[in-house]
């Protein structure tokens, strides 16, 4: 019994450290200045705060623009993934329609083709449409990547809400749309928010499509992927910081939202 516990805790600590240590170093190094990056042995804590690497990072041409693009693309992806995904999820959860099961599978099929295979035909099509090298090309692809998750997660979510709650609202004078906004959405809000953040992360992290479909209008990931191999170590570290930390931050928020689901907080 004791041995088992020690084993579990040991493994737990090992895995946690293997994930957390690199992130810890990343944070420590990115606020410690250039000298610390090249110093040996490496430091384990922040001796004196030095923001110069961040300053330099933002002064590099194209970084602010790429970051702005990333935020914009991710935000638009969220808008479309929720705006299109929520009604589709609701339809799947509450209505029986012809071809419903096929539709459910078809949604997953969109994830069956690797972006690498789709990249060339998409490039051609986007050039024809005149949206190649615009954020819209990236938004479309990112929405396509995020939508299946958005639809399937939310449809399970809506399904788990008792039908009677909405029906009670209908009988108390609500239209179906009002009932959705007054009952279903507020009840599911934490999870819908989590879904939105998830879509944001998918877009923020996606690099392949973004790199292929844009040349000048790059998102941060696409921009960094083309720069990082030719950049000095301190630049790589700051770049990594901006790729990793926002994602972690948002996942942290999602976690908070998920735990604040009705009732769970009482436990």
């Amino acid at each position: 019994m004791r041995k088992k516990a020690i084993l579990y805790y040991g493994l737990g600590i090992f895995f946690c450290l293997s994930v957390l240590l690199p992130i810890y170093f990343l944070i420590v190094l990115s606020v410690s200045g250039r000298d610390a990056v090249y110093a040996w042995p490496k430091i384990f804590y922040v001796a004196n705060l030095d923001w110069s690497m961040f300053r330099f990072f933002f002064e590099v041409e194209g970084v602010t623009r790429a970051m702005f693009n990333s935020v914009l693309v991710a935000s638009l992806t969220v808008v479309f993934a929720i705006g299109l995904g929520t009604p589709a999820a609701y339809a799947l959860a509450r209505y029986n329609f012809f071809g419903k099961n096929f539709y459910r599978i078809a949604i997953l099929f969109t994830r069956a083709f690797p972006v690498a295979i789709l990249a060339l035909p998409l490039t051609v099509r986007f050039i024809n449409l005149g949206i190649y090298d615009t954020i819209w090309a990236v938004v479309i692809v990112h929405t396509a990547l995020a939508l299946p998750f958005s639809i399937l997660i939310q449809s399970n979510l809506f399904q788990s809400v008792p039908k009677e709650l909405e029906e009670a609202a209908w009988l108390l004078g609500c239209t179906k749309l009002q009932a959705f906004f007054k009952i279903m959405l507020p009840i599911c809000m934490p999870s819908v928010a989590a879904t939105a953040i998830f879509a944001f992360i998918i877009s923020w992290n996606e690099v392949f499509a973004a790199a292929v479909l844009t040349v000048k209008n790059r998102t941060l990931t696409a921009f960094l992927i083309s720069q990082i191999s030719e950049s000095p170590l301190f630049f790589q570290i700051t770049g990594s910081f901006f790729l990793v930390i926002p994602t972690l931050f948002f996942i942290f928020i999602v976690r908070k939202y998920l735990f604040s689901l009705w009732g769970i907080t009482n436990k």
Binding site: E164, L165, E167, A168, W170, L171, C174, Q178, W262
Partner: protein, 373 residues
């Protein structure tokens, strides 16, 4: 004036017939219980009236208005769901006032009326709590308050007390009854608990397999079951039913013979009808356990000259507080008798019971239909 008229309503789920040609007419302010075993279509009927299910055929009217093509919100009725369906993301106060708000009532009125409705259901102390902080009984009260707050002309309730524990159920039953009387709504009340139906309803519709087997006042349902199913379903313990083996006439009286010890005398007015049914497909005779009365030990073998008595042996004796339930055995036939506490009787005694011939119920064996004079 909110009468409810259900005419020839059927509901199919695919090939499954959940409701079959339902007729029901509830008068204004009347309390109707839909009573039946689980799966008999009670909820489906209620939901069809509410507009949550679309009837496959038939007409439903509330007052003078035909409603079967209206959306739920336009039918002006309120419903209490079996699982309460209290909105989890709203306080009790917001739950109760929800209907008034969507209907655009004035703010002052909403506040005052919410308070009043909450007081009526004794939940004024929890108005600002969220439902997950409430007990099952309190949640139940919130769902009733939410329905009553809109002062509906028609109130639909789906087994509102079935999730409460026994004591709470008793308390809530009498409270609800008084409340509904005061609120003057026409109520359709689904239950599988016959005592609830008996004690609360003006009229009971007994349902089975999507059909209404009998529709009438509680006494009628209890004392004059129109169908074998109703006889078996109502009453605890339910009616004793015996299969008649032969009909035999002795001294100008006709008896329905069950076995050597048990025979029931047939009233003159029913003689021909029972004979016809017996010849066609057989006959069942029924009598309620409390309608059989203990006449003492059997001192001699039964003869047909003793009209209105039957004999048998005592198999088990159960003391139920003020009553004693006897299970009796006569050859292979078992039946039950309910007696007042304190009768002198022992296991395996051979005893005689009396009955009144006009309390017997007769049913066709195949059709299950009551045989009337």
């Amino acid at each position: 004036m909110a009468t409810i008229h259900i005419e020839d309503v059927s509901k199919n789920f695919g090939t499954f017939h959940a409701l079959k040609n339902i007729f029901l007419s509830a008068e204004d302010k009347e309390f109707t219980a839909l009573l039946g075993p689980s799966g008999s279509g009670k909820t489906t009927l209620l939901r069809t009236v509410a507009g949550l299910e679309q009837a496959s055929s038939g007409r439903i009217s509330i007052g003078a208005m035909r409603v079967d093509n209206l959306a739920p919100k336009d039918r002006h009725l309120a419903m209490v769901f079996q699982n309460y369906a209290v909105f989890p993301h709203m306080t009790v106060a917001d739950n109760i006032s929800f209907g008034l708000k969507t209907k655009g009532a004035l703010k002052e009125y909403i506040a005052e009326h919410t308070q009043r409705t909450a007081a009526l259901l004794h939940i004024e102390d929890v108005l600002h709590k969220y439902p997950n902080k409430l007990s099952g009984g309190q949640r139940q009260r919130v769902s009733v308050a939410r329905a009553l707050a809109v002062q509906p002309q028609v109130l639909l309730m789906d087994e509102p007390l079935s999730n409460l524990d026994a004591l709470l159920r008793l308390e809530m039953r009498s409270e609800l009854k008084a409340l509904l009387k005061k609120s003057e709504t026409t109520t359709l009340y689904v239950t599988h608990d016959q005592i609830e139906a008996m004690s609360m309803a003006d009229k009971i519709a007994v349902m089975n397999n999507g059909e209404i087997m009998q529709y009438g006042p509680p006494e009628e349902i209890y004392f004059k079951p129109k169908h074998e199913f109703v006889a078996r379903f109502i009453g605890s313990p339910p009616m004793n039913l015996f299969t008649v083996q032969t009909l035999k006439t002795v001294n100008k009286k006709t008896f329905a013979v069950i076995n050597n010890d048990i025979a029931f005398v047939i009233e003159a007015s029913l003689k021909t009808k029972i004979q016809e049914n017996f010849d066609a497909c057989g006959v069942l005779v029924g009598i309620r356990p409390e309608q059989l009365s203990f006449k003492g030990s059997a001192s001699h073998a039964k003869t047909f000259a003793d009209a209105s008595t039957i004999q048998s042996e005592v198999l088990t004796i159960e003391q139920l507080g003020s009553n004693t339930l006897l299970v009796l055995k006569s050859n292979e036939i078992l039946f039950r008798v309910m007696e007042k506490y304190g009768i002198k009787i022992d296991l395996n005694d051979r005893v005689t019971f009396g009955y009144q011939p006009n309390q017997l119920s007769w049913f066709g064996k195949d059709s299950g239909m009551h045989i009337e004079a």
